[in-house]
Symmetry: C2
Subunit: 317 residues, 2 copies
């Protein structure tokens, strides 16, 4: 069972699944594990310097000869340098977030790099298709970390109708039911972040991992809705304080900023589950065990097959 779509052909992978480019989380360990398991692992460049990213790329290559990618956060001060690094290192796939990668796309395409921007609206998707993107990830607001406004159910079909390039769904996908639903909505692949937080090969602090396992359905919230920078994370002391500040008359943006600065690093590296930013999607409530990435992927697609087979039963009724 391999679920061949335009995405598996484009990425040259067995399963149409990309691991999310989670800042501070997506390093060479999890990226190589996902790629070795037949998905596409990603290194998150986030706000890291170019040399760090180059080092990560080389480390992935030591651990896998399968395709992998780099996610470039375009608001990073190092974005332009990293855009050059992926060229020099001939990274197979680049995904982008937090900005318009238009100016880099011609160079990347010329070097044979597959380019997949993460988008959250129809107009962004159309702009990216025109700029030469090979596919887009349509990310719903149930996802963890920085989010847009539309949900996966509403966004995916509207993007599929708006562009001809293949679409991957991100947000709300934690098991085979989510993958099958994404296929029904017209997606040809998925990007999964939160479930890989619980991968054995995911190098986040044990406290962060435990917070994901403990998280219930209503266990996440969104900070920064009033400041124009919405971020989904698990409810903890930090999240509650920020949300309370946003509801209060005269919310002080500087004070909020002070609380948030370094808070993701505090969660990932130091395991601060009180004042760290435990970014995770709404599907955290469905994730209850730590597993190797390979087991996660194989389990997800075995369930997808089972669920899709059930569809045939519905038709017979």
């Amino acid at each position: 069972m391999s679920f061949q779509t335009r995405i598996t052909k484009l990425l040259k992978v067995q399963y149409p699944i990309i691991q999310g480019g989670m800042a501070w989380v997506a390093d060479y360990h999890i990226a190589s594990a996902v790629s070795n398991a037949g998905g596409l692992g990603l290194i998150a460049a986030a706000s890291a310097p170019a040399d760090f990213v180059r080092d990560q790329i080389r480390k992935v290559r030591e651990l896998t000869d399968k395709p992998f990618g780099v996610n470039i956060m375009l608001m990073s001060p190092y974005a332009a340098e990293i855009a050059q690094v992926v060229l020099e290192e001939r990274v197979p796939v680049v995904t982008t977030g937090a900005g318009n990668p238009g100016k880099y796309i011609p160079g990347w395409k010329e070097a044979g790099i597959t380019v997949i921007p993460v988008i959250a609206s129809v107009s962004q998707a159309i702009r990216m298709e025109r700029a030469g993107a090979d596919a887009v990830v349509a990310e719903g607001c149930e996802a963890g970390g920085h989010i847009g406004e539309l949900t996966t159910m509403a966004l995916t079909p509207q993007i599929v109708d708006a562009v001809s390039i293949p679409v991957l769904t991100a947000g709300g996908v934690a098991d085979g039911r989510g993958i099958a639903a994404a296929f029904m909505l017209g997606a040809e692949g998925v990007q999964v972040g939160t479930r890989f937080l619980a991968a054995e090969e995911c190098n986040i602090h044990a406290n962060y991992k435990q917070a994901v396992l403990d998280c219930k359905d209503i266990g996440t919230t969104v900070t920064g809705r009033t400041t124009g920078s919405p971020v989904r994370c698990i409810k903890n002391k930090l999240a509650r304080e920020i949300v309370a500040m946003e509801k209060k008359a005269g919310a002080d943006q500087d004070e909020m900023e002070k609380l948030l600065t370094g808070s993701l690093r505090a969660a990932v590296v130091d395991g601060d589950d009180k004042m760290g930013s435990l970014m995770a999607g709404q599907v955290a409530g469905m994730i209850n065990k730590i597993q190797p990435a390979k087991e996660i992927i194989e389990e997800m697609f075995a369930e997808t097959a089972k669920v899709l087979s059930g569809a045939a039963g519905l038709l017979k009724n």
Copy 2:
């Protein structure tokens, strides 16, 4: 093709689809049209007096001999009276929102009424199953009107895992792709609101209907997130003013309340598309024409069959 599930058996309908109990919108016209087309039409009791609701019930019965339902908004000052009216009138199905219908359920069940609360979290669903509900509608925050926090993709499978009674999905369902996705997530039916705003038999003002047709993917917003009463509606002057007030330091709740009072009636009855509350879901961007309810339902399920058949193709690859 009839898609028999536990929901079609429970409701004694041809298609597993309920029309949303939209306040001021869901009257006997649209309810009877949906029921006659093989779905389950609903009358919204909203904040209307009991006699008004009784009159609506009798009018539905003049227009159809098929099953139909009443949606009871439990915060209504008339909720207790209406709970009695549905008993006296032997309404086949009752759905509930905005509260806990627990105290009414034994009486309704004894009278043979099918009870389906609308819920937005796992704990609510479990509570309703224990109270004797026959099914639940799991409503995602992409829906129009009053909403919870979880999206349909994240909510549906978590509810399906938590209860044994059948689950319907609401929010994000505007076509056959949405229905097929809901099935994949484990739902056995759907509740659809926004698409029926564009039904010929929907008696909302032409300006409101036009606003739904004109709405783009990012055309809705949520008011009342900071006040604990989030409502999704189409962006217009009213919505922009409320959202701006909520972001401003020292937002005045009384002033907001003054703007919102009567604003749904202004949209539905008077066609005020500037200061009326044009409640609609994120799928409004997918709705581009006015059709009879019967055509909408048959088109949606024909597409569901097509999409589910495509699933078989994916499995063969």
